[in-house]
Subunit: 305 residues, 2 copies
Amino acid sequence: MPILVVGSVAYDTVETPFGRAERVLGGSASFFSVAASFFVPVNLVGVVGRDFGDKELAALRGRGIDLEGLERMDGQTFHWQGKYSYDLNSRETVCTDLNVFEFFRPKIPERYRRSEYVFLGNIDPVLQREVLDQVDRPRLVACDTMNFWIEGKPEELKKTLARVDVLLINDAEARQLSGEWNIVKAARAIRAMGPRTLIVKKGEHGVLMFTEDGSFAAPAYPLEEVFDPTGAGDTFAGGFVGYLAGAASTGSVDEVVLRRAVIMGSTLASFCVEAFSLDRLIRLTRAEIDDRYRLFKRLTHFESV
Amino acid sequence: MPILVVGSVAYDTVETPFGRAERVLGGSASFFSVAASFFVPVNLVGVVGRDFGDKELAALRGRGIDLEGLERMDGQTFHWQGKYSYDLNSRETVCTDLNVFEFFRPKIPERYRRSEYVFLGNIDPVLQREVLDQVDRPRLVACDTMNFWIEGKPEELKKTLARVDVLLINDAEARQLSGEWNIVKAARAIRAMGPRTLIVKKGEHGVLMFTEDGSFAAPAYPLEEVFDPTGAGDTFAGGFVGYLAGAASTGSVDEVVLRRAVIMGSTLASFCVEAFSLDRLIRLTRAEIDDRYRLFKRLTHFESV
């Protein structure tokens, strides 16, 4: 079943210790869509300016992503510029030019309204609810957010979370949202806000998933060459939700499927960081994905005593 | 087969957000020994002052730890005082009174010299080598160290590492020792210095083990109540080396056994942090250990796609 994703489509300018990429394709919806496209068809809702290029459109279309919902507005495309420290663990935002994204009001095309799987990228929680108001009772709503909304619109965010099944945020955001430092307590508090599944992303330390069945820990794949971490979180989300949607078309989504989805998300994210922008994801094959999934098993499994 | 452990036996004064413990039993050799004692007999070499109490001796003896090598010297026992931040992730050393530990020159009792498993706690690398000079070709030498020796005695440390089989250090120390930020590259550089197995400890983010077979990632157990992290690393080492020594008495130490040992170390460490000092470890049972080991499997395992 197809996924509806709503979020940013952007140009990124990224500087890492290993090089610089100027105005390359980025944005949460772009990374998410390409990752999810390995499992199911993807319907993208976002906005770009007049400057958005044919090359970028072709890259997304080449992955079979439906762009009927990608609005083109007068003005420039959202542009983010960031610089990573030598350790890739912290980054400085050099500038954020929202441009047309400032005026984004998601309009869900008629064809997309029956989407059973929905991913709400990190946008204003009020807009996230406007998206949900335009879709017919989806089976699963996954959602991202950030410190800006946790601080700036906590009540709106809580109204949105009450309608969300899976929340994907990082550890600092989980602590901020819950007011709890301990991550197990934070997870309990957040799950009480609505999401029955919480994914806590910890960058190079992997992810923790909290469900009604307890917790599941997955490491990040230890890569020798991490080139650019931009988009890894959205790519994780795309692999995770994409795998779930694909699995749901042939069976039910239980703990076994959720855990596989976490590993699939981690697998896709591990490829994302190997190159700038979507460069590695675009040329990825399903065989490479399945190979690395198997490596995750080798990385984590051990025998009983 | 018994393990020989050489390291500090100390009094700790610890302040956490949850309380304060005054002059309680601590030190690397204490935590290591108690953890290892669940698997094999332990022979302890260390030094204490005239103030060291019968209660502390009884706690160690109660776990069957051989104290013939625990020297008593005129003066006071090593005393460390530390204070943890609200998040337990950083700590400030309030004071370090080395006392008799400043004059510690490990003397290995005759009975201990045939120890096949040796753990060199975090002491001067010159002293670590003096220990090795006093034992008869051990089957496995495990070793800890810290930034103080990496900076202060790099050449002495390298001479020691050339004689070590397993090095257990934290991620910051691995980066400092290797000069490599990327942890996979750091591991390769360190393994080239001697240790064929490297364990990188990452606190609440678990551990990574690097062997000739590749890498193995284990999370820390997500606890709702972390009371006092002091000694968790030494307790991990005790569970790890203790399990290995126990397994070696009935078979060979291969990758399967090494991985089980990592989980056993993580299991013991997860109990250590539940109370001050060795309080939780002292009253631990083998059944509780095996239960939590099984929970680690539940926490990490997933199925193939």
